[in-house]
Symmetry: C2
Subunit: 445 residues, 2 copies
């Protein structure tokens, strides 16, 4: 095929796709649907030459005739008929890791949507890519079709970034939004989300915050120019969020969101995923349902925020093919924004060092002196209270074991997390406290 | 200077900056403040080698010692001591255009923040850049530090985009936000914005929508892959927006925003800048004050939105230097996303073809039969009404000439703009209509 205007006709870029699940099929569909437009933008056609998947007989709703087929993905990695490997198998290890390593070592550019792989093995893979001089692209690994990798690594390359993060998991955001809108509890909404296909049969990677933590680790590495370090991300999910917390948050002027937040402070890099109370007027509080949002703050640019669909076959395929177009154009950017030797060695700061406000929800027996006892513990731990809420117990809240228990909500002034936790341990041990206390961090958004 | 990890030491990229206003000084400050980080990301240092500005004596608060100085910007364009020209003079013609043309013709990459230049002469400049094989970058021309050019041209390169636009002028958004928050009128808020430095002494480029139209023309060209065509953008500003319209909009559940909107329809490309009523829950309605927001909608990615500061020395310098880092890295992307021969020749659609809802505000004499007369005209023009609002005239609204005039607000169902305008001409000609009617288009956001 001749590409007018691109000088001499340029050879097509031949793609091998490993993994033909929803996203893999989406990539094939997109490359077919927008072939002409993609060839114009890439300066050459991008064509599927080979695929790898175990089950050849499965009906996928697309025509795979004429494509080379590998049952073993590693065969694809070194297939001489392809120029680029697209890894869409998933999982941090196993076949996904093997095919990516093999392809890079063979001098093949790799595009992947695999956040676990990049968050956990990204530094080692970048070393192979650098050594072999080939691109390793993963725009689809964070926030689906929203080009956040490109924005942070290239668009904000001039800035010293100090904060990056956002709503990184659509399943959690869907559940929290639905809980708020319906007033129903976590388990009910999760079951509904599973029925609708917004949550997996085994939802733990999403709802326990692990998926968001993979993405945050990647964003933090790019933003602060240091090797990706998934192990240093503090992770909490949303299982413990009760309908009561959603209601109290609303009464206090907040919404509950699962945020990933990475900050560069004088002490080092703080990276954490956990539910947060954010003011209900903050831009991020208004990002609802399955939508994702990523913010970044830099010394010259100020704060920017990007939002859109963070998952699904279409958005993910859009990001994968944008990476392929970059490769076809010959764009080369260091995997982590700078070569490995130039990445910073700034240390990680443990969660105990967090300084901020806290929301505490306690279930206490409705007896004289209880508040005084709790207030004394907080005072002795150096935790200063901003406000307190107490309502008569609604019928469906008071536990059967403790019919006279009432919920109390406390909001603190700025407190170091270690002090907060020490105080909570003492409070939890009180006889009058009948349930483990809930603690949710308050963030500006 | 040796750049570790980049293989053999790479020569610094030597920059010449034409124009030392606020943004020019911002670029110099940024290159100095983040020099080390920029060198790591760019793979080589980026250094200022020369500047061009007329007044050498002016105090700019930065050290210019040791820099080559050109009083004539065109001398800078061909100065052998520089590798890249940064044009920050401004204006579609004159020195800005000359220096960019001269630099490109001399094979020098150009970075500019000049939206008027790119919107009006962007096709011709791209032709020179293509012929001479040099990059022409203008990330700073649209939405300041928010990397929207990169997002649309590269991040969404795989998508067929059907809609792009947003809040593209911070001055107008500041004025409209302040009008809503204070209830005061346009002239008062404009004067205040001028005093605060949010509006220019001559504010017409901003408030008449021209600046937003420059940016929309650029976004539309990138999104739809066709030559930039400022002349086809329909432009209206915000001078005619009254405090009364802001109040009525709020009562109807809307906010008024100056939006730039470009759509690709079966008939061609529709591009227009005008005030809009947007539902107050739409994400774009919540972007307030000097902030900008850009949305894009594609066939696979769905809708994404980017927001942040669209102007100011810091954000603009951030975008200029990000472009310089791309050039230092050797990234080359066609100026308009594809080579000139591959751009589409899709036609422009005139504003009369717009199909949508309309808000109309009339001042009519408070007499029997007036509503019936207006309703008959709308019916005969094929305009169907959705709702009507009428209040007793507030004291400060009724004109001195027509003490018994009252405002009436009509909201239409979907109507073709030509029909709407025909009806409005007839309504305006009625004796009982004492002021030219106000018409504001309603958009989903």
């Amino acid at each position: 095929m001749t590409v007018p205007g691109a000088g001499p006709a340029r050879a097509p870029l031949r793609i091998g796709v490993a993994g033909l699940g929803t996203v893999g099929v989406g990539v094939l569909r997109l490359l077919e649907a927008n072939a002409e437009l993609i060839a114009a933008r890439a300066g050459r056609p991008i064509v599927i030459a080979a695929v790898a998947a175990r089950d050849r007989a499965r009906e996928r709703g697309i025509d795979l005739a004429g494509l080379r087929w590998h049952e073993d993905a590693c065969g694809l990695a070194t297939d001489p008929a392809i120029d680029v490997v697209v890894e869409l198998i998933g999982g941090a290890d196993g076949a996904a890791r093997q095919v990516v390593e093999a392809a890079l070592a063979a001098g093949r550019p790799v595009v992947t949507a695999n956040k676990a792989l990049i968050a956990i093995h990204g530094a080692a893979l970048a070393a192979i890519a650098e050594r072999c001089g080939v691109p390793l692209c993963f725009e689809a690994a964070v926030a689906g079709g929203i080009p956040v990798i490109k924005a942070v690594r290239e668009g904000l390359a001039a800035d010293r970034l100090t904060r990056v993060g956002g709503i990184l998991n659509g399943t959690c955001n869907y559940i929290l939004t639905a809980m708020r809108e319906s007033g129903r509890d976590f388990a009910t909404i999760l079951a509904e989300a599973q029925a609708l296909g917004y949550a997996e049969a085994d939802p733990s990677t999403d709802i326990d915050g692990i998926d968001a933590a993979h993405k945050l680790a990647i964003l933090a590495a790019l933003a602060f120019g240091r090797p990706v370090d998934f192990g240093s991300v503090h992770v909490e999910g949303i299982r413990a969020i009760g309908a009561l917390d959603i209601a109290f948050a609303q009464e206090l002027g907040y919404r509950i969101k699962l945020l990933g937040i990475a900050r560069l402070t004088e002490a080092g890099v703080e990276a954490r995923v956990h539910p947060c109370l954010v003011p209900q007027t903050a831009p991020i509080a208004l990002v609802e349902g399955v939508f994702n949002a990523v913010f970044a703050e830099g010394d010259f640019v100020g704060r920017i925020m990007l939002e859109g669909r963070g998952a699904g076959a279409g958005p993910t395929a859009s990001a994968v093919v944008a990476d392929l177009i970059d490769i076809a154009r010959g764009t080369t950017v260091p995997v982590w924004g700078a070569n490995a030797e130039q990445l910073s060695q700034v240390v990680s700061v443990p969660i105990g060092e967090r300084l901020g406000d806290y929301y505490l929800r306690l279930h206490v027996l409705d007896r004289p002196g209880v508040i005084a006892e709790i207030a004394a513990i907080l005072r002795d731990s150096g935790v200063s209270l901003k406000s307190m809420l107490q309502h008569a117990a609604p019928d469906d809240v008071a536990g059967g074991d403790a019919p006279d228990a009432v919920p109390i909500v406390l909001v603190t002034h700025q407190t170091r997390e270690v002090a907060m936790r020490r105080a909570l341990d003492l409070i939890a041990a009180l006889d009058v406290v009948v349930e483990p206390p809930a603690m949710i961090r308050i963030e500006a958004g």
